[in-house]
């Protein structure tokens, strides 16, 4: 639910209930005031009648005084206490009963007890009440409508800088060097938020840059010692007095040094790809490139008697030759290395998709983590960066890299 909707909901509920309670109180207050007024008038009427009776010593005829109906009823009951009440008013000239207000009280006349009842039409006051109620209701409705409309517009307007900031934050890219653009808000709160975000993003970016710089420097610094190790080993093996056991040890050191140097190169390559430092884009014929790669890997695949089936359409891409080489190298060497002997590899290239399938383990790989750094299969000799590099290269060109396991085939597909 949107903030405006939340706000509107609360706002409308509160306003509506306050207005309704107010209207009810208002209604009863008006009602009371009007009744009081009618009762006052009736009281005057009564005193007039009583004065008349006392002065003239006779009961007034049952006529309508000011359209009020006056009745005298002889009664045996003693003076009943005077009371005011609502009743119906029968207008002799008009048909139908209308509401009216009545006074009833006792009067003593010539030794007899009479009950006097005066009924006054309250039609006009009812009409007044109706009008007031209608006006109040219309006012409530109008107020609600205006409130919700203004709320909507004012809120939208007030929150505009917020949505601007949000869009900025969504577009935030940690590896981009451009700094966060301040939106120059006049509202203090948003200006604060703006500053806080700008500060945070620049801090995050600096940290990220430092980290990358560190990775790069660390990798570089490792290369020279590695070169020393390699050259020392190269010199050591020239010694003719060494025995077989020594050479075995040296071979292991060679292996470890080689692994370390490959790991280093992969890390450096990742940093370069992530920094978009490789930009030598060329128009490449993928068909040709893949055919070349298949030829290049023929020796490797033939040694495991792996059959490579390729169904290649034509596709040209605007990419770096270097990166594309690495991408195909990684995918193909994976497909061969993790294959069974006498297995098979299928390669399909269409205008919008490159698919490489290979036989291998009969269980699917974890598709959530295979593209993560240092994730590798239990039998893998690599450093676990190959697929990460492939994925990152795909990201550079906005390609979608997917893994699936179909019919015992590990399927890697790139959607261009």
């Amino acid at each position: 639910m949107k903030l405006a909707a939340h706000y509107n909901k609360v706002n409308i509920v509160v306003t509506l209930s306050v207005l309704l309670i107010g209207a009810v109180i208002y209604f009863f207050a008006i009602d009371k005031i009007i009744n009081n007024r009618l009762d006052e008038e009736l009281g005057e009427e009564v005193s007039e009648v009583i004065t008349y009776v006392h002065q003239n010593q006779l009961l007034p005829k049952q006529f309508d005084i000011d359209e009020n109906q006056v009745e005298f009823i002889k009664t045996n009951a003693l003076n009943s206490s005077p009371r005011y009440f609502d009743t119906t008013y029968v207008n002799p000239r008009k048909s139908g009963d209308k509401s009216g207000r009545a006074f009833e009280g006792g009067i003593k006349f010539k030794g007899d007890n009479y009950r006097i009842r005066i009924i006054k039409s309250s039609e006009s006051t009812v009409y007044l009440k109706q009008i007031i109620t209608a006006i109040t209701l219309v006012l409530i409705l109008a107020l609600l409508t205006i409130l919700s409309l203004t709320n909507r517009y004012i809120l939208n307007d007030l929150w505009k800088p917020f949505f601007g900031l949000l869009a900025h934050m969504k577009a935030f890219n940690i590896s981009e060097s451009s700094s966060f653009i301040l939106t120059n808000n006049k509202v203090d709160e948003f200006a604060d938020l703006d500053n806080a975000i700008a500060e945070m993003s620049s801090r995050v970016k600096t940290d990220f840059q430092n980290l990358k710089q560190f990775t790069e420097n660390a990798s570089h610094e490792m290369l020279t010692p590695l070169a020393v190790i390699t050259s020392k080993l190269d010199t050591l093996i020239q010694d003719e007095t060494l025995k077989k056991e020594h050479f075995d040890q040296i071979q292991d050191i060679y292996g470890a040094a080689g692994k370390l140097s490959r790991l280093n190169q992969s890390l450096l390559l990742l940093v370069k790809i992530e920094n978009n430092l490789i930009a030598d884009n060329d128009n490449l014929d993928l068909n040709q490139l893949i055919n070349d790669k298949i030829r290049q890997f023929q020796e490797l695949s033939a040694s495991k008697e792996i059959r490579i089936y390729a169904e290649l359409g034509s596709k040209e891409v605007m990419v770096s030759k270097h990166l594309m080489d690495i991408l195909l190298n990684n995918l193909l060497s994976n497909a061969i290395r993790h294959n069974q002997s006498k297995g098979s590899i299928n390669i399909y290239l269409t205008n919008d998709k490159l698919t490489i399938q290979n036989l291998g383990l009969t269980v699917p790989l974890n598709s959530n983590s295979i593209f993560d750094r240092f994730q590798k299969g239990s039998t893998s000799e690599g450093a676990g960066l190959g697929l990460t590099i492939v994925k990152n290269i795909c990201n550079v060109y906005d390609w979608d890299m997917k893994y699936s396991f179909v019919n015992n085939l590990h399927t890697f597909s790139i959607v261009f």
Partner: protein
């Protein structure tokens, strides 16, 4: 050949010096840019092996110096930086090759020999090792005047061996030379074994001298001794 090695890392410098100081090569070394420039100002060399990251400046300065002085020294850059920009920059200023650390000394030697051969203006395009004659332009190999047909890998291997003759070459060095690290052959040396086997057989078909010797599973040596 007179070779100047400019490298600040002592261990590496000494090993390069030892490895290259044979075959009548004279090697000298500098650990700093200033020292290298001083040496180059006084003497002529055939080769300069140049590290880019030196304590007192970038190796590119030395390249510029050589270019401005119109010197004929061949230069191979040895750098920990494997960036395309550096490579292009180095080659543009006049370096003849670019070798990324870490490298095998055998690879360095092979590169030096290759650059030297390329630069040599002699009309003789034949590389001769005893009875083996290699025509570098036609990429053909004759032994005792009989041509032997080698595959591309076998031919590359033979050149590599002759450039490092008398030295033990590690299998890993050979694998890297033949397949590059991009192929990622890892510890799979079966291919090398089969290529070596084939090359050796082809040589032994026409001569009785077995130059290729296997050294305890660590590598191979091409020697006439």
């Amino acid at each position: 050949m007179k070779i100047l090695i400019v490298e600040d890392e002592q261990g590496l410098r000494e090993n390069m010096l030892t490895y290259l100081s044979e075959d009548n090569n004279i090697c000298e070394s500098s650990a700093t840019l200033a020292d290298a420039v001083a040496k180059l100002a006084s003497y002529n060399y055939d080769f300069v092996l140049l590290d880019i990251g030196l304590p007192d400046g970038e190796g590119f300065e030395l390249l510029n110096y050589l270019k401005n002085e119109m010197r004929g020294e061949a230069v191979i850059i040895i750098s920990a930086r494997n960036s395309l920009d550096d490579r292009i920059k180095g080659l543009n200023i006049g370096a003849d090759d670019y070798l990324v650390k870490p490298f095998h000394l055998a690879e360095l030697k092979a590169r030096i020999v290759a650059v030297f051969r390329r630069k040599a203006t002699s009309s003789n395009n034949n590389l001769i090792f005893n009875e083996i004659v290699i025509n570098l332009i036609g990429r053909t190999v004759f032994i005792n005047d009989v041509e032997i047909i080698l595959t591309r890998k076998e031919y590359d291997m033979l050149l590599y061996f002759i450039a490092n003759k008398g030295k033990v070459i590690a299998k890993t060095a050979l694998a890297e030379h033949l397949w590059g690290d991009e192929m990622d052959m890892h510890d799979n040396f079966d291919f090398i074994y089969s290529h070596i086997k084939n090359l050796r057989k082809k040589i032994l078909d026409v001569t009785t001298n077995d130059y290729l010797k296997s050294i305890y599973g660590i590598g191979y040596k091409f020697t006439d001794r």
